[in-house]
Subunit: 474 residues, 2 copies
């Protein structure tokens, strides 16, 4: 077994690093190494394993559900109709603006294909794609107790070939919105209608004319609810366990307490009411699941902004050669992954020296204490902004106005309270470029074509049925 | 690492054997060892790994699709409405008859729950369940090149615990009807209706009033087609690639050539016709997939009655400490798994001495030659009967009238040609007990309650709407 050598400042840094997953986090990691190399810094040998045929993680759309063409769990929970549910100004890369990518202002809430194009665009301009082994799934990661090296066993899904290699460091960037949390609900096995988890939801068109029950009260239920309404569902009922989301829902959407049991097509709720449904979609969240990791390396957490056992949110405390990207619940997304990836890069190449384990633990504990004191969503957003600020301060990732992004999040929450069907028509100012987003040519509620082509087009209001958003900018 | 010891005839046979999967094949293997032990023969240490919460494999029903409560691929392709699509007389255990289990004659085509009860019943009477680790998935199997021992890494899915153990022999009994084959069809990503593979089909009730397209022309398409028809689909269109099944379909079911492309809800067929559909179910078969095995141990085959590289259909030619059960396409099922399990047991405990590799290869080649000459389904059924006869002759599994079972299969095929909606009302004579099956109290087409309770009940014809099958017994 080869021995790890690790010589800072030497061009041939002979470390080998495995990045598992080429979604937005893994792509951020590739970008981080790319920029270091452009600066003349030595970078390790990199292999990025990606089971999908392309990078982009969740931002790829596939009609497949459950298992993919290779019999692997489908990664993406994406649906055809998805548009960003938060303003793009809150996720913009600090080193690659929307203006730079699109060459002109766009709206604040782009559809999926537009966001995929943006994250693809940043890394397409270099040759980092060469590091990615597509259609390759990591089967098992094991650490040699003597050398400390990791043996990574992967499978080339097209060639049906097993590959065994050793690495010095492992970066887990597979995300945690891919493995559905599927609680059992009494009698659900008798429900004869359409039944799936939000992970397998691919579009709301087929819900037209149907009575739809969504179980859950977070983003999936909120967005699938309004999508179903937009596409003509006869009724949308959202069943919450703890508290309703409480938006000013339009007629046709309502929130009710949790289901107690199903009897065939009928759901009985804990408040004693019952109703018949054509379709049930379980919007019951996702699992942290890393089937390729032994239990001592696998993060096991509920979805929260500070999973325990990760120093600076990224370094596995029990084994600082294992890193996680994007393991947090996310207000900030792409720009947080960047800050994390820059930090991980600097730890791996020795630019940053990790403190000793007990000092790391004190840092974790201090953050956990603050985490446990979070009392409101606004607190949580500020918590995450401060976390990112710490990471950026430690690296050369360009600092951006995190406080202003917090304000954007708070305005966004207000907009949703104000108009859950219209908030996507509002616009924000970029903290990176100062550009004010363009009011889109068609309001979200009336736009039935989610494509990049349509989005970037300039439809003729007379001919193309453009519906200018009537709402004021934020 | 412990060294394998292997002393024939000594009570404490210190071999360790891993059985991966506790479906009908794995259960047959447990039964085989159980009977050997009852005969005073030494048996190895056995660990049977089962990722489901109960044994029975495909014969378990779950409302879940895609991924299960632990985020693992759902094993079973079972739907609520499934009744056996072949006569039970063709799959009856030679050592445990339906008469023995139910205490009275039953019909020839029982629903799922009845068949689950039967296979469960045989092994419930002993204590072999103690060998099964439920909710435990095998992650990776690796052979030590020096000792020849296998390291099996598994995960206790409830405790989130990784377990690493060594074994002398590996028995792969995970089946090959669990990982859907999902070809891409042009434009399928634009189809807005309900879309899934047969693996994720859970019942036809929600297809009432719908125009349904089934892609494929084998058992899945045939049975989901008649189920959809039974449950009131407005139309069922079955699209074949090579040749139609050609049954005498009732009005409402028809076969058409393969789809060329989808445009939204419209399927365009290669014959130039097109039609709008509400739902598409891909009945496009399954993959041989063993994600826990390195490529040199993983069977890679199309679905056929003689996958290459398996001596006697069960011994992995390149490594005769690896065994496969039920890897064949199946006319015979439970009784074939038994014959295989008895054979594997006898190889493992040394009762049978394996010939040398070249002799095994000559045997494989001889069977392959005959396999390649198969010209008709009848040939194929006789091929499989002869294969099973060879296995039984080598072991103490009770011989049964394989030729008569071939006749049952041929009659069954004739019955289906004769009446695709009524064949399940016909009855056969058991080759094990001589019992003639009972004509069921309700014809399959009219029976909407698929439960064991209803099946075993004696409904009052006046009160319970019993519909005596009008068809003659075979």
């Amino acid at each position: 077994m080869r021995t790890a050598t690790y010589e800072i400042g030497v061009k041939n840094l002979t470390k080998r690093v495995a990045i598992i997953g080429a979604g937005p986090s893994g792509m951020a990691q590739l970008r981080a190494f790319e920029l270091a190399q452009a600066d003349g810094r030595p970078i390790p040998d990199i292999v990025c394993f990606e089971k999908q045929a392309d990078w982009g993680g969740q931002w790829n759309y596939s009609w497949r559900t459950g298992l993919d063409q290779h019999g692997e769990p489908v990664h993406s929970s994406m649906y055809r109709n998805l548009w960003s549910n938060g303003p793009k100004e809150a996720l913009e890369f600090a080193d690659y603006s929307f203006d730079e990518h699109f060459g002109r202002p766009i709206s604040s809430y782009p559809p999926r294909e537009v966001l995929w194009d943006y994250i693809d665009g940043r890394v397409q301009r270099s040759d980092v794609k060469k590091y990615v082994r597509f259609n390759t799934v990591v089967r098992w990661v094991e650490q040699d107790s003597e050398t400390g090296m990791f043996t990574v066993t992967s499978e080339d899904l097209e060639a049906h070939r097993t590959i065994v290699e050793t690495f010095d460091d492992i970066i887990v960037s597979t995300g945690h919105f891919s493995f559905p949390n599927l609680p059992d609900l009494a009698g659900l096995d008798t429900f004869p209608g359409r039944l799936c988890h939000a992970h397998d939801f691919r579009g709301a068109e087929a819900l037209e004319g149907q009575d739809v029950l969504l179980v859950g009260s977070s983003y999936s239920a909120e967005d699938i609810g309004v999508q179903a309404h937009k596409m003509g569902a006869r009724s949308v009922t959202i069943s919450y366990r703890t508290a309703p989301m409480g938006y000013d829902w339009p007629a046709g959407i309502e929130e009710v307490p949790i289901v107690e049991r199903f009897e065939g097509s009928t759901a009985h709720f804990v408040d004693g009411t019952s109703r018949r449904f054509d379709a049930v979609i379980l919007c019951t969240g996702y699992l942290h699941k890393y089937p390729f990791l032994p239990d001592d390396l696998a993060l096991d957490s509920r979805n929260c902004v500070y999973p325990a056992n990760l120093y600076q949110g990224v370094v596995w405390q029990d084994n600082p050669h294992v890193f996680y990207l994007g393991a947090q619940d996310q207000w900030f997304t792409f720009n947080m992954f960047d800050a994390q990836a820059w930090f991980v890069r600097d730890v791996i190449d020795g630019t940053l020296q990790l403190p000793a384990a007990d000092e790391r633990q004190r840092d974790i504990d201090a953050w956990l204490e603050r985490f446990n004191a979070i009392a409101s969503p606004a607190d949580e957003i500020r918590f995450q902004a401060d976390y990112i600020r710490d990471l950026i301060n430690a690296t050369d990732y360009p600092m951006f106005d995190l406080d202003e992004v917090v304000e954007i999040f708070l305005a966004w929450k207000h907009d949703k309270q104000d108009d859950i069907l219209g908030y996507r028509d509002r616009t924000y100012r970029s903290v990176i470029t100062g550009t004010i987003a363009q009011t889109h040519h068609t309001s979200w509620l009336r736009e039935l074509d989610d494509s990049l082509t349509r989005y970037l087009s300039t439809p003729d209001p007379e001919q193309d049925g453009v519906d200018q958003a009537p709402l004021a900018s934020a």
